[in-house]
C-alpha cells in the first residue's frame, strides 16, 4: 500500500479538519491529490476515522423525564437566584434608608456635642469646669489669710480656757500669750 507523502502531512491534516482555507494552497493540494494515490487514500482513511470519533461523541437521547427534570431544575435555580438578588427599586424608595441613616448620624452628633464635657479630660474642660477652677484658685489665693484666721481662733480658744472663773489674770502668762496685751474687757489679747 502506498504511503502518504511526509511533506504533505500537515496539509492533509488541515484538509480533513476543514482548515485549509488558503485558495492557493487548496489548489496545489487538490492537484497533488490527483497525482498521489498514497495521500488520497490517507485522506479517505482520516475522514473515516474522524467520522468514527464523532460517532462516539453522539450523546444518548434524553428521555422526557430527564428533559423535564433539567428544565425544572434550571427554572427553580433561576427563581431562587432572582429572589436572593437585591431588588432594584425607584429612587424614592432608595431615599428612605439614606434619610434614616442621615437622621441617625445627626442624633449621634448632637448627643456627642451635648455631652462632650463628660468625655473630655480636665485639660479640655469647658466653661463649667473653668468656673469651678476659679473658685478653687480663689481659695488657694486666700490661704494665708485663712491660716491667720485659724491661728486667731486657736488663740481665742486658749485664752478662754486659761481664764480662771473669778476673772483674775494669771501670774505668769501662758506661752501662747507671751508678749501680748489684754484688751479693755480683759478677755482677749491684742
Amino acid at each position: 500500500m502506498e504511503k502518504a507523502c511526509r511533506n504533505h502531512n500537515e496539509t492533509l491534516m488541515m484538509d480533513v479538519l476543514g482548515e485549509l482555507h488558503d485558495p492557493r494552497m487548496r489548489r496545489e493540494w487538490e492537484q497533488h491529490l490527483k497525482a498521489c494515490d498514497g495521500c488520497r487514500i490517507e485522506q479517505a482513511r482520516m475522514c473515516q476515522l474522524l467520522g468514527k470519533v464523532r460517532e462516539v461523541g453522539m450523546p444518548p437521547e434524553l428521555s422526557t423525564t430527564q428533559v423535564d427534570a433539567m428544565a425544572g431544575a434550571v427554572g427553580w435555580r433561576l427563581r431562587n437566584e432572582r429572589l436572593a438578588r437585591p431588588q432594584k427599586t425607584g429612587w424614592r424608595l432608595r431615599l428612605v434608608p439614606a434619610l434614616a441613616a442621615a437622621c441617625a448620624l445627626l442624633v449621634v452628633v448632637a448627643f456627642g456635642y451635648r455631652f462632650r464635657d463628660r468625655w473630655t479630660g480636665p485639660e479640655g474642660g469647658g466653661e463649667i469646669s473653668a468656673e469651678l477652677h476659679a473658685e478653687d484658685l480663689d481659695i488657694i489665693k486666700h490661704l494665708d489669710l485663712l491660716k491667720d484666721m485659724d491661728t486667731i481662733e486657736k488663740l481665742v480658744h486658749v485664752v478662754d480656757i486659761d481664764l480662771p472663773p473669778n476673772g483674775e489674770a494669771p501670774d505668769q502668762a501662758a506661752p501662747e500669750t507671751q508678749g501680748m496685751h489684754r484688751n479693755d474687757t480683759g478677755k482677749a489679747y491684742t
Binding site: V53, M70, V74
Partner: protein, 193 residues
C-alpha cells in the same frame, strides 16, 4: 428574539421555553467535553444553561442567539471540566496522576442490554470503539484534548478555539496537529473495519 427579551425580563415561561429549545444542544456539548458520561453531562449542561441565563443581559443580538449560546455553553463546560479535574486531583491525587480525564470506568462495564432488534455484536463493537476513543483522548495532554474535542465535536474554527481557550492561534494549530496525529496512530485499527 421576543422569547429572549421576555426571558431577560424574568418571565419564567419564556425562560422555560428557551431551556427546552436549547437543552439538547447544550447537553451534547457537555457530553462531548466531559468524558462521554451522561450523568456528568446532565449536571454540566444544567450549569451551562444557568450560565447562559446569567449572561443573557449581555446578549446584544449582533450574532445569532444559537452561536452566542454555543460559546457560553462551551466556556461553561470547559470551566466545569477544570473544576472537576481540580477536585479529582485534590481527593484522588494518586489515581488521577496518570488519568487526568477522571473517568476511571471502563465503558465495556456499562454496555446496556441490547434492545429488541439491535445487533448485540454492533453494540459491543460501539462500546469497544468508545473505549478506544476515550483511551486515545486520555493519552493526549489537556490542551491537545480540549483543542481536538472543540474541533472534531463542536466543529469550531481555529480562531474560535483560540478565543474559547485563550491560546494563540498558532498554539491551537500545533496542538490540533499533534492531537490528530496521536489519535490516528492509536485508532488506526478502526479504519477499514
Amino acid at each position: 428574539m421576543e422569547l429572549i427579551r421576555r426571558a431577560r425580563d424574568n418571565d419564567p415561561w419564556a425562560a422555560d421555553q428557551l431551556v427546552r429549545r436549547y437543552q439538547k444542544k447544550v447537553y451534547g456539548i457537555a457530553y462531548q467535553l466531559c468524558g462521554f458520561d451522561p450523568e456528568e453531562a446532565r449536571d454540566t449542561a444544567q450549569e451551562a444553561l444557568l450560565q447562559v441565563f446569567r449572561n443573557l443581559g449581555q446578549f446584544e443580538g449582533r450574532s445569532r442567539f444559537s452561536t452566542w449560546l454555543h460559546r457560553i455553553a462551551v466556556n461553561a463546560c470547559l470551566d466545569a471540566r477544570r473544576r472537576r479535574k481540580r477536585w479529582f486531583r485534590m481527593i484522588l491525587p494518586r489515581r488521577t496522576a496518570g488519568h487526568d480525564e477522571g473517568d476511571p470506568e471502563d465503558p465495556l462495564d456499562n454496555i446496556p442490554a441490547p434492545e429488541d432488534g439491535m445487533d448485540p455484536v454492533s453494540s459491543l463493537s460501539s462500546a469497544e470503539l468508545k473505549r478506544d476513543v476515550m483511551g486515545a483522548l486520555r493519552g493526549l495532554s489537556e490542551h491537545q484534548r480540549t483543542v481536538f474535542q472543540l474541533k472534531v465535536f463542536q466543529e469550531m474554527s481555529i480562531p474560535e478555539i483560540a478565543v474559547a481557550t485563550g491560546m494563540a492561534e498558532g498554539t491551537v494549530k500545533s496542538h490540533l496537529f499533534r492531537a490528530t496525529q496521536s489519535v490516528r496512530k492509536k485508532l488506526h485499527q478502526w479504519v477499514d473495519r
